[in-house]
């Protein structure tokens, strides 16, 4: 326990409480905060768009190789993020498998863009959403959906009014975890999207850069990330550690 807590104490101990606000409102810190917000919310949006349908397929559709697909889905959770970044470069980079075609056909290049940073964060964070949502779908009682259908509700109406409310807690937890993971993403982002203030330099990158130039700013930004992580954990506490 001490092993886990001491680093946090170290951070708190060195925090420049007196001028914390000043450190966090420097242009570079504000830029990083704003960009982190945009990128992490963007990553959550991408994850919802792609992840919820995927969770549905994994939970509801029987098909050969489903376990393999599920393993693949969670791969980026355990993959070292920098490896994810290299893989993204080889896929969506200007010379990449898909990226080459994107560049030629539409003139779209993702590396070094905010969209690229969002993509990198979504790549790493989406599994959290998929796993949580799939678990929610499996746990719910499908008879409610059947009942809705017998009462004449269409598929979309059933999804909106019956399924969604039933899986809302799992979906919410998934969104929170996905967002927290996206907010903290470093390795894939710096590898795939590079580092440019205001465009791809999110908070973790800013912490890393600031560490080499301005320790106080690095600590202040780290503290923000720590507080956010704690807030997410506390909000999910009842799901994970139910108080009997």
């Amino acid at each position: 326990m001490g092993f886990l807590a001491v680093p946090l104490l170290g951070l708190l101990n060195q925090t420049p409480w007196g001028h914390l606000l000043a450190e966090l409102t420097t242009p570079i810190a504000l830029q990083a905060l704003r960009l982190s917000l945009v990128c992490s919310l963007g990553a959550v949006a991408v994850s919802l768009l792609l992840g919820v349908p995927l969770a549905f397929v994994l939970a509801r559709v029987e098909f050969p190789g489903r376990n393999f697909v599920r393993a693949l889905t969670t791969l980026s959770m355990v993959l070292p993020p920098v490896v994810g970044g290299v893989a993204l470069l080889l896929a969506f980079g200007r010379r990449g498998l898909v990226g080459r075609w994107l560049d030629e056909a539409f003139g779209i290049t993702l590396p070094f863009t905010t969209a690229g940073a969002i993509l990198a964060e979504a790549f790493v964070a989406m599994p959290f959403l998929v796993i949580s949502t799939e678990a929610g779908l499996r746990a719910m009682d499908r008879r409610y959906e059947d009942a809705a259908a017998t009462l004449g509700a269409g598929r979309w109406l059933t999804f909106r009014r019956v399924t969604l409310p039933l899986i809302a807690p799992s979906l919410g937890a998934g969104v929170a975890l996905c967002w927290a993971r996206a907010l903290g993403e470093f390795g894939a982002t710096i590898t795939f999207a590079g580092n440019l203030p205001g465009v791809t330099q999110t908070m973790p990158l800013a912490v890393y850069i600031a560490l080499e130039t301005d320790l106080q700013a690095a600590i202040a930004l780290s503290l923000v990330l720590l507080v956010v992580s704690l807030a997410v954990l506390i909000s999910l506490r009842d799901r994970w550690f139910p108080t009997a």
């Binding site: 376990n67 393999f68 393993a71 470069l89 980079g93 200007r94 010379r95 290049t109 590396p111 070094f112 999207a193 590079g194 580092n195 440019l196 203030p197 465009v199 791809t200 850069i209 560490l211 080499e212 130039t213």
Partner: protein, 261 residues
């Protein structure tokens, strides 16, 4: 079925990690026997010195009864921070004087041991037809520079100022090798690096010369770190870099001699 396979894979992964950890601790115990003669020194060196110092390290080990040289390459600004945070360095070789100054209370008197110059790195064949610094202002060109705190980033900025060119880079990399690799991967069209890094980049990249009046001379200082547990070997390594043999190796990798001024 799958689950059992995953379990086997996990067990293998854990075993591999344990083995790797054992290997690591063996190293530690052997170097922990401090007074034993085959000592070990840790040399923190600027990323641009990667190839040259790897060779110098091997030569030094051979010439000094097996004194092991462990090299840590990164942007000089990162190394300076590590030394400030009491990283166990014995020798520090920086690509600029600014970062050496940052640790001046922690290091012995520095000496300049090499110089370097800048070149524009482009893909082999120069597909975008880059002729000089002026061309880097072209907004259609994806240019990567090192971050302003990285020595080569600061030198690049000085050269661009001399040329009166404003460049909007697509990324600010953390060391010179990262700039080269972005060009090597084809993600960037051009970058500003040291001439030695263009040479080290292999046959997939080539350099575009920057004329003398726009170019900047990078000076490389080296110093021993005061907290070193092997100060004699650290001093010996520094002396070796400054010796004829060391200078010869640096020259063979394209470094210039210390500027005479």
């Amino acid at each position: 079925m799958l689950r059992s396979r995953i379990r086997v894979a996990a067990a293998l992964a854990v075993a591999a990690l344990v083995l790797a950890a054992c290997g690591g601790s063996d190293d530690n115990t052997s170097s922990g026997g401090s007074s034993a003669s085959p000592a070990e020194i840790k040399v923190f060196a600027a990323a641009s010195l990667t190839a040259a110092f790897t060779k110098i390290g091997e030569d030094f080990t051979a010439a000094n009864g097996g004194t092991k040289v462990t090299l840590n390459f990164a942007g000089s600004q990162a190394l300076a921070t590590q030394i400030q945070q009491a990283a166990p360095a014995d020798v520090f070789a920086s690509a600029d004087i600014t970062n050496m100054d940052k640790v001046k209370d922690l290091a012995g008197p520095p000496q300049i041991f090499a110089s370097n110059q800048l070149q524009i790195v482009v893909e082999k064949g120069n597909p975008k037809g880059v002729k000089g610094l002026d061309d880097l202002a072209n907004p259609d060109l994806k240019v990567v520079l090192a971050a302003p705190d990285v020595p080569v980033g600061k030198y690049s900025q000085q050269a661009l100022e001399k040329a009166g060119v404003t460049v909007k880079p697509v990324s600010q990399e953390q060391d010179v090798k990262a700039v080269v690799s972005k060009v090597l991967l084809g993600e960037a069209d051009a970058g500003i690096v040291y001439t030695t890094d263009v040479a080290a980049g292999g046959d997939k990249v080539e350099g575009v010369d920057i004329p003398e009046d726009q170019n900047v001379v990078a000076t490389y200082p080296i110093a021993t770190v005061k907290a070193s547990k092997a100060p004699d070997q650290a001093q010996a390594f520094m002396d070796y870099v400054l010796s004829d043999q060391g200078q010869q190796v640096l020259k063979s990798y394209g470094f210039g001699p210390p500027p005479t001024s």
